[in-house]
């Protein structure tokens, strides 16, 4: 019987080489990512377990990225514990507060490759699906067990095939496409499942555009979102991980899918989308919510803080001014993103437009710092979650959109379809 990408990758990592949807298998993990949850939650669990040594220091990567640099005494303590642990355990891949967001930095460091099984202590670990990786989020206890043993149990997920055909036309972005798909799936529409995005649109997408989609697959409950390798993935691997050996994992033609959805965007074009409060699956066509006044516009996060996202925003903001009374906060996803943005003159454009450019961190997206919302405030954000209270006060409201829509809205001071702005 044919296998899906999820089944194949999990099967490569089990003792008997088998994995069929619905089964529970024990699998060896290629890479474990932990962030601040190491210092706050995992270390006490490791103490309780009587843990001595990481199973393989080369296969662990530690980040201080959520509140970077420390926003208060508690986060400073968590960061200190992570530094100590990395040193004591001689873990070479330690990314301290200067690095940026794990989901951008890990692919930049060439730490993931097609066909791998990756676990992170963060729900947005699905992002590496863009590189043909089976990557999924678990939490503290499961991460602790992996640190000790290098393996864990996984229920092999059923797969849903989502085929997308046609061209996305600027300023519409892959964010708009995923917001549209999420609005069709609903908040648990892919719970426990692997989403296999495929088709000519996905084949033609750059890695950054793909990462936005795989990142948000979890908002419908998906466990993983492994895409097929395309030419952009190949060149990414050549550039960022030249010494890694890997082979692409393709689904079999007769693989079993529990659902098959088709989006033909030449027939029915994707429009700029906005997810209204308080769920990422509340997608609406941007024109329907145009005119909602905003206090803050945020471009950043593991969803849309990459160089291509900043370029789109800069094209819209060049030579213009952010509306009075609106804060535009731009948080490049990684140190590398920041430096490339500097070289390309994007930071200059943002600063001249009246924006605030922060260091690379999860920051405002998790309501940590660098853009926390006050009571009654409204934010349009390029991030992934608009749960009530996510970015600050419980009576603040978050609208999710593409970097193009966020930039256009920052100029007008109200939610704005980017197609109405000259760039």
């Amino acid at each position: 019987m044919g296998m899906t990408i999820a089944e194949k990758i999990l099967a490569f990592h089990t003792m008997d080489g088998k994995a069929t949807a619905g089964e529970i298998v024990e699998a060896n993990v290629d890479l474990l990512m932990v962030h601040e949850v190491l210092g706050s939650r995992i270390l006490p669990i490791l103490d309780e377990m009587g843990f001595k040594k990481v199973w393989d220091p080369e296969r662990v990567v530690i980040f201080n990225d959520h509140w970077a640099p420390a926003s208060d005494i508690d986060s400073a303590e968590i960061h200190r514990r992570n530094r100590n642990f990395a040193r004591e355990q001689e873990i070479p891949h330690f990314c301290d507060v200067e690095c940026g967001i794990s989901h951008q930095v890990i692919p930049e460091k060439g730490l993931v490759a097609p066909g791998e099984l990756v676990v992170g202590s963060d729900s947005h670990t699905t992002t590496y699906g863009a590189l043909n990786v089976f990557s999924t989020g678990l939490a503290a206890t499961d991460s602790a067990l992996i640190l000790a043993t290098g393996k864990n149990w996984f229920r092999v997920p059923e797969s849903v095939r989502i085929e997308v055909r046609g061209d996305i036309k600027s300023p519409v972005m892959s964010k708009d496409l995923i917001l549209k798909i999420l609005s069709d799936l609903g908040p648990d529409g892919a719970n426990y499942q692997s989403l296999e995005f495929t088709g000519s649109t996905i084949d033609g997408m750059q890695v950054s555009e793909r990462m936005t989609m795989c990142n948000m697959a979890v908002e419908a409950g998906a466990k993983a979102a492994p895409m097929r390798v395309n030419r952009y993935v190949e060149s990414w691997m050549k550039g960022f991980a030249p010494s890694k050996k890997w082979i692409p994992v393709e689904p079999d033609e007769d693989a079993t899918y529990v659902d098959h959805r088709v989006y033909d965007i030449d027939e029915e074009p994707i429009e700029p989308m906005v997810a209204v409060p308080d769920n990422p699956t509340n997608g609406r066509v941007a024109q329907e919510v145009e005119g909602v006044p905003i206090d803050q516009a945020f471009i950043g996060s593991c969803t849309n803080g990459r160089i291509s996202d900043l370029e789109v925003a800069a094209r819209i903001l060049r030579g213009k001014k952010v509306r009075d009374g609106v804060r535009l906060i731009i948080t490049p996803a990684s140190r590398l993103t920041y430096m490339v943005a500097l070289e390309k003159g994007l930071i200059d454009i943002f600063m001249r437009a009246g924006g605030i450019v922060t260091n690379s961190t999860c920051g405002a997206c998790v309501g940590g710092h660098l853009g926390v919302l006050g009571a009654g405030e409204v934010c349009i954000s390029s991030s992934n979650r608009n749960f009530r209270g996510r970015m600050g006060h419980q009576d603040s409201r978050i609208y999710l959109a593409s970097p193009a829509t966020v930039a256009a809205s920052a100029l007008r001071g109200v939610i704005t379809d980017p197609r109405g702005i000259e760039s």
Binding site: G50, I78, G137, T141, D188, Y192, G368
Partner: protein, 169 residues
């Protein structure tokens, strides 16, 4: 762990569909290193009185997709910290489901439970049989029996205890 898996009796706190992890415990509190401090903010948005009024073995009843969103294990941990006896929902988000059993918080899936049980009802949950009975009404709702693996984790008192008992030395 001394939990009686056959008899968890308490008052019902009823919630709707899609109670995400930020509704259970907001991201801003994750930096608190002490769980007893963090637990004071449990359900702060949807049910501000919960943390101060909940009693040991009270039962949370919810609709679909309880615990969606973040991977944060703090979500089931704060419920456990406050003495919640069990969460009974129509469905659970994937990571929350796994986290619950890992930390030793029982979770039971019962179809339509949020429609059939009222806030303030007193219920008894029997995890071995997968049932929920409502005091004074004689109704017994049947849920999905717990998977063998989850029952083993609960009996051990969570994944860490299970690991300590089964570690090959």
């Amino acid at each position: 762990m001394n939990r009686d898996l056959n008899n968890i009796t308490g008052r019902v706190w009823r919630f709707g569909n899609d109670i995400d992890t930020d509704q259970i415990i907001q991201g801003q509190y994750l930096r608190l290193l002490d769980y007893s401090e963090m637990a004071k903010h449990t359900f702060e948005i949807p049910r501000p009185v919960f943390a101060s009024k909940v009693k040991k073995n009270d039962v949370i009843v919810a609709g679909r997709n309880f615990g969606g969103g973040s991977s944060r294990e703090e979500a089931p941990k704060v419920l456990l910290e406050l003495g919640v006896g069990c969460v009974v929902a129509e469905s659970f988000a994937r990571i929350f489901y796994r986290n619950g059993f890992n930390v030793g918080l029982p979770l039971l899936i019962v179809p339509n439970v949020a429609k059939l049980v009222q806030d303030g009802d007193v219920v008894t949950v029997n995890l071995m049989e997968g049932t929920l009975s409502i005091k004074g009404k004689g109704d017994v709702l049947h849920g999905k029996p717990l998977p063998e693996r989850m029952l083993r984790l609960l009996s051990a008192g969570g994944a860490v205890e299970w690991y300590k008992q089964h570690r090959r030395t």
